[in-house]
Amino acid sequence: MTDVDNEIRSLAAAKRLPDSHLEKWLHLDQPGRVAVLEVARSLKLRTAQIVTALDLLDEISIREGQPVGTLLARPSIDRLTTGAGSAPARAHAFLEELRAMRFPRLRETIERLEAALAALRLPQGIKVVLPRELSSDELTIQLTVSNAEGLERFLNMLMEKRGELARILSMLGGGDEV
């Protein structure tokens, strides 16, 4: 057993990491094991965050055919692990970045849809909600009104924006812009 393995076991024991994930961690090649240990320490990852990171890294590694050490050396990750900011904020951003790597087209599509929604410049009382993780093709539109005039104003506004909303619905349904 190497020193690194001892350090990983010691951290895992302190964090009460499930055996299955300790095994997954120790199963990585040496650069991968070390890289995960460095990230876990520098970002002060909590147990659930280590579990999530190991699962995501395992899946990204298989999808992209790249070892975990190489994935963690990417500039987008390196910026987060070595950059400024609080450890919890960087840990959160780190996991978000891993999710973006694991679900690249989903992330890109969500960003595109959110940009299209922002461009609508709707007032506060109208909320257009995308389906969670784009699991369906349905938009939810919420109106918050307290009187008939407000309702009419919002409905008129939605009618004015129906072309753009239809375009967003088309994107949700796999239209060419996606």
């Binding site: 298989i62 369906s136 349904g173 796999g174």
Partner: protein, 363 residues
């Protein structure tokens, strides 16, 4: 037969049945035969590293007590549905697709089950017809098992075809990923039998569909049965939305249409890869390096993981467009998708399941 069998276990009550005699003769002396009073123990998982895989090589013949005929388990009021009726004549499959739902469905009884009283299903079919005269039904055997994988040793397809070919109200669908069509070519179906193939691009076949016939072999088998008087259909199901999927699926459609004129295809179905979290876990445990199990799936309202909406609808539409451009309207349906998705893909709301089933049966 191209698949390995380790053992044949027969319930005493099935000893001497036509099915057992066929199996004993076909398997010869190389496969040990054991007769048991109660076959239920033989169905359970063996204490080995991969009991599901071991179960595939252990044939257990017994009598089926439950009805053979049932509504397709994929059907639900939440989905547009094709009105498929299922005959359960076997359970499990000698092939080993990494995404297969049987890994979850038969996890507790993974042995390959065959039923010595399978001809009792004919009475159920007669009863069905009597309950709804004038209706046509599409009945298939390919839900809990591949319809043809073991046919060279069971000969069940011949019994089924001989039963349905004189009954105008029935259309039999034999669904397969094999090219085991030897028995079919010896039997005249009189237009009452559809043989359908699940088709996947080469990349999916290589990565995930272990021990199945190659996509080209499946298409060649389809041509052969078409020439022998069978109708044919194709299931693009599961469709897997990997990065080059659209290009690969369209290439596969082109290969298919080069071999088979579109107007000779009775129907096609499409359905995205869908897995419950439990199935995904089982599949990942058995096939940890299969990239096809690691798509951009998200959890839907029905508790299944599928590629996110825009991605899979785009794939459906691309395939549908390609078939439409081929110049013939091939009847098509989606499996386990909502009416709204159906409308996006086909431009119209789906008909009710019974009507769809009847249309597909009549052709």
């Amino acid at each position: 037969m191209k698949f390995n069998v380790d053992a044949l276990i027969v319930a005493e009550e099935s000893r001497g049945s036509a099915l057992v005699n066929r199996l004993v003769q076909a398997l010869g002396t190389s496969v040990p035969v054991t007769y048991v009073a109660d076959p239920r123990n033989a169905l359970r998982p063996l204490p080995v590293a991969d009991p599901f895989d071991a179960g595939k090589r252990r044939i257990v013949v017994m009598k089926r007590r439950a009805p053979f005929l049932m509504a397709c388990p994929a059907g639900s009021s939440k989905f547009a549905c094709c009105g498929y009726l299922v005959l359960v004549l076997a359970s499990n499959c000698p092939m080993d697709c990494s995404y297969c739902f049987l890994q979850e469905h038969v996890a507790n009884n993974p042995s390959f089950q065959l039923y010595s009283n399978f001809t009792d299903c004919f009475a159920e079919l007669e009863h069905l017809a009597a309950s709804a005269p004038q209706r046509h039904f599409r009945i298939g055997t390919g839900e809990l098992a591949d319809s043809l994988a073991m046919d060279s040793i069971t000969g069940i397809s011949t019994d089924l075809i001989e039963f349905v070919r004189d009954r105008e109200y029935l259309t039999l669908e034999l669904k397969t990923k094999t090219d085991e069509i030897g028995n079919l070519l010896k039997t005249d179906p009189r237009g009452r039998v559809i043989v359908s193939w699940t088709l996947s691009p080469e990349a999916v076949w290589k990565s995930s569909e272990h021990r199945t016939a190659s996509p080209s072999a499946r298409i060649a088998a389809a041509r052969a049965v078409l020439a022998a008087g069978y109708r044919i259909g194709f299931h693009f199901d599961p469709m897997i939305a990997y990065p080059q999927a659209e290009q690969d699926y369209l290439g596969l459609v082109d290969e298919l249409l080069d071999a088979v004129p579109a107007e000779r295809i009775s129907f096609l179905s499409m359905g995205a890869l869908r897995m419950t979290p439990t199935l995904r876990q089982a599949a990942r445990r058995r096939f940890p390096n299969d990239r096809m199990l690691l798509g951009e799936e998200v959890l839907g309202a029905d508790g299944r993981l599928r590629a996110f909406g825009a991605l899979r609808i785009r794939l459906y539409r691309a395939l549908q467009d390609r078939f439409e451009r081929a110049g013939a309207r091939v009847p098509a349906y989606l499996c386990m998708e909502s009416s709204a998705v159906h409308e996006r893909v086909f431009g119209a709301k789906p008909a009710n399941p019974a009507t769809v089933g009847e249309r597909l049966a009549i052709g």
